[in-house]
Amino acid sequence: MSDVQTLPNLTRRGHFFSALGDFFVKQPLGAAGGVVILGMFLAALFAEWVAPYNPTQIDFLARLVPPSPAHVMGTDGFGRDIFSRVIYGARTAMTVGFIAAIVGTSLGAIVGVFSAFMGGWVDLAIQRVIDVLLSFPIIVMALIVVAIVPRTELFGVDINVIIAIAIPFIPKVARVIRSAALAIVTMPYIDATRAAGFTKTRIMFRHIMPNVVAPYLIMLTALLGQAILLEASLSFLGLGVSEPTPAWGLMLSGTNADYYREAWWVIFFPGLAISLTVFGFNLFGDSLRDWLDPRLKV
């Protein structure tokens, strides 16, 4: 007997809002996370209006100014306003993070469902490949991909970084979604579809996929945070987005952060931004999982 909160059907408007309200009431921490995410999102969207200065504007007369009314978060070694750079950095983080996470999670989910449903040697082969891929720590894999894929830019976004972040996620997601899909494949209602002679494609997309939405969403929110962190790490190492794009990780590395031992604000605020954002995503994801099915372990 299942007393699990099943994922409410969100295709109807009434259901969506009541589900939202239910979530906010039951999971205050998650709601807080959601607010943080929304804040960052809005900052990213309306950066032009929110940021007081141009993030790339160099001003050698205002180098390393501590936090003050004119510069809320101080300035860096080139005199650029840190607050503005943090705001614009949100844009990079969100764009790269979102796209990478969505691409990685979705591809991983498809692989996972396919593997679970096909079973047999197909499943075994895919599992072995996933095992091998999981032997590489995420950052190592990301670094390898960065090393391989040449720098490409599309609409001002560094595609190579996105790919570098998305690819390590695929085996991770595939493994989790595969377990969830395995549980579904053994369900009688899948047997019923086979007994009715439905095609494999139909069963996979119409019957299995919709039922892995819960773990999918949970992995997605978890990996959104990871993606942002990974992007920051890559940029910190100089292997992610490059100057002059404002990116939080970049702000913590190399010439930008050279003077951090004396000018603590140069690293404090960008790092705080990273932490807060990932924190928000994780809070949200955690609460989402608790709300949907506390037994779903990720």
Binding site: P188, Y189, D191, A192, R194, A196
Partner: protein, 691 residues
Amino acid sequence: MNIAAHPKPDLALKPILQIEDLCVEFRTTRGLVRAVQNVSYEVHPGEMVAIVGESGSGKSVSALAIMGLLPPKTTRIPKGRVMFDGEDLLTRSKTQMQRIRGRHIGMIFQEPMTSLNPVLTIGDQLCEPLRIHLGMDKEAQHARAVELLGLVGISDAARRLTQYPHEFSGGMRQRVMIAIGLACNPKLLIADEPTTALDVTIQAQILELMKKLSRELGIAMIVITHNLGVVARYADRVNVMYAAQIAEKAEALPLFCAPLHPYTAGLLRAVPRLDQGREARLATIDGLPPDLMNPPTGCRFADRCPARIDACAKMPELREINPGHLSACHRAEEMNGPLRDGLYPLYKAQAAEAEAEGRVEGKNALEVDGLTMNFHVKIGRNPLSRKKAVVKAVDDVSFSIEAGRTLGLVGESGCGKTTVGRSILRLLKPTAGAVNFEGQNIARLPESDLTSMRKNMQVIFQDPFASLNPRMTVGQIIAEPMMVRKLVPDTMAARRRVGELLGDVGLPLYMSERYPHQLSGGQRQRVGIARALAMEPSTIICDEPVSALDVSVQAQIINLLEELQERLGITYLFIAHDLAVVRHISHRVGVMYLGRMMEIAESEALFADPLHPYTQALMDAAPIPDVELERHRAPRALKGEIPSPLDPPPGCVFSTRCPLATEECRQTVPQLREVRPGHRVACLKIEETAP
């Protein structure tokens, strides 16, 4: 061991447990659930009291309340006393309750497979109560543990104590649980559905054991169950619970012979009985139990009750109608007379008569010949060895079903009946043998050739919760097969057909917009039936379709299936483990054990005169909800455990447990042979006789 031989407990003794006016509430996310309301009962030393009810009746909750095992944060007990040995348990502190639990009151639960800690030895878990309550030293613990295992019938005790739970079978684990419960010689033992998860023959063993111990050791026992047969066989007194209240309370015999509450009467008429065949249509109790968050103010059974009168708008009290027999019904006195018989008339199905008259030998809808399904399992720990064990899940099984009739396939766990179903459906590819359906042998056909068969043969599953896609509406679930297989021209036609089907299975039209989680178990099962019917199949494989349902709902579904068969001429392969249900619905019955068919005959012939020793054992083990009958039966509980399918006995697979087994049986595999006309048995010891 005949129960009648046991002396009845002396009810004049003061009761060891007295529950007075107990109320238990739960705070859930959706509201306050009043799980137990104004429940009172008592238990005397040495007697076995049964608490009977369906799911949601509150029977388990009342027992957990005695033990203080309800979740503290969400449970409220606003009223009531639980007097145990003179003290009110509800006022005891946590520490005091800890000293009572396991020492003076023991409890065993439903799931033996998960009730023991997998990483601790049996000895450790058995000695734990001895250590913490009785302060025994190591030697004394060991001695007592060996004694306890002997008491519950586990041999080789010293070695067993060092083993872990996963090395024990389900039946043996339950014995261990009983041993743990009895370890400190408690005054009261509570058993919550102790045998529901066990096979029929094992069930009988465990219940016999419990009854024996209760009598010999003078331990009071509370058995919580939904199985009326178990109650009839073992209980001294019975409390019937409905919707968090006690509906009726009496000694076993008067309760079964002359129930004074319409609900009890309904239950007794709704349960399929092993001693009744197809001729009686099961009485059904329409409707569903009330929502315990908003229970009706009057009698809770009223809107399902055929004896409802205006007075029922007021809550009836539990009153003593006859000595020792109480009922919570305004019309309880009238129940003593013709009212009871008129409530749930047993009517003969008209078709049954037509059947008897005009039945012509029909064509076979399905013929199975030498069906074999082997699974390969790697055994042995050597990773390099290629040795594989073959599990013969289905071994050379043959039978046929005439069009429009039902073949029941019955057996305990591991007998292969479900695998037979799945093989016929081609959810599995049989290793060998033929399955003749609609003129072709579908056993080894490639998947692409199975399209026609996939329309004309459909399936209904056991678990109503898992057999429907939770993300689709009822309407979508039923319509999908039609649309995908292009059985209807367009969506309009599909919608119309869905409406018809919903009507066929007795569901209102608005159900098509609901999601499965909004439906009850019985309603979901009906949707499953509608989905199967959507393809207009000639044959339906029913895989334990009613096992997961409450008694009153079971009857509804069984009747529905029978009605559909009469109207549409569908052929059923009905797979189940409950003999009574199988007897009720089947024309012909096959009994399986460890992958082989042991006996197959017309339903009446089989039950009137079972020839195979296993069939006889099964029938002995299954209790009938009739106290008088049970008193005069001498249950012969079959000894031993069901052998592992990885290592089946040589020769006849039943030889290890068969009372008639000889050396010949252990060497030769008996084949099914026709011992009487239409009655085939696979046993070397049965002589062919003229009918």
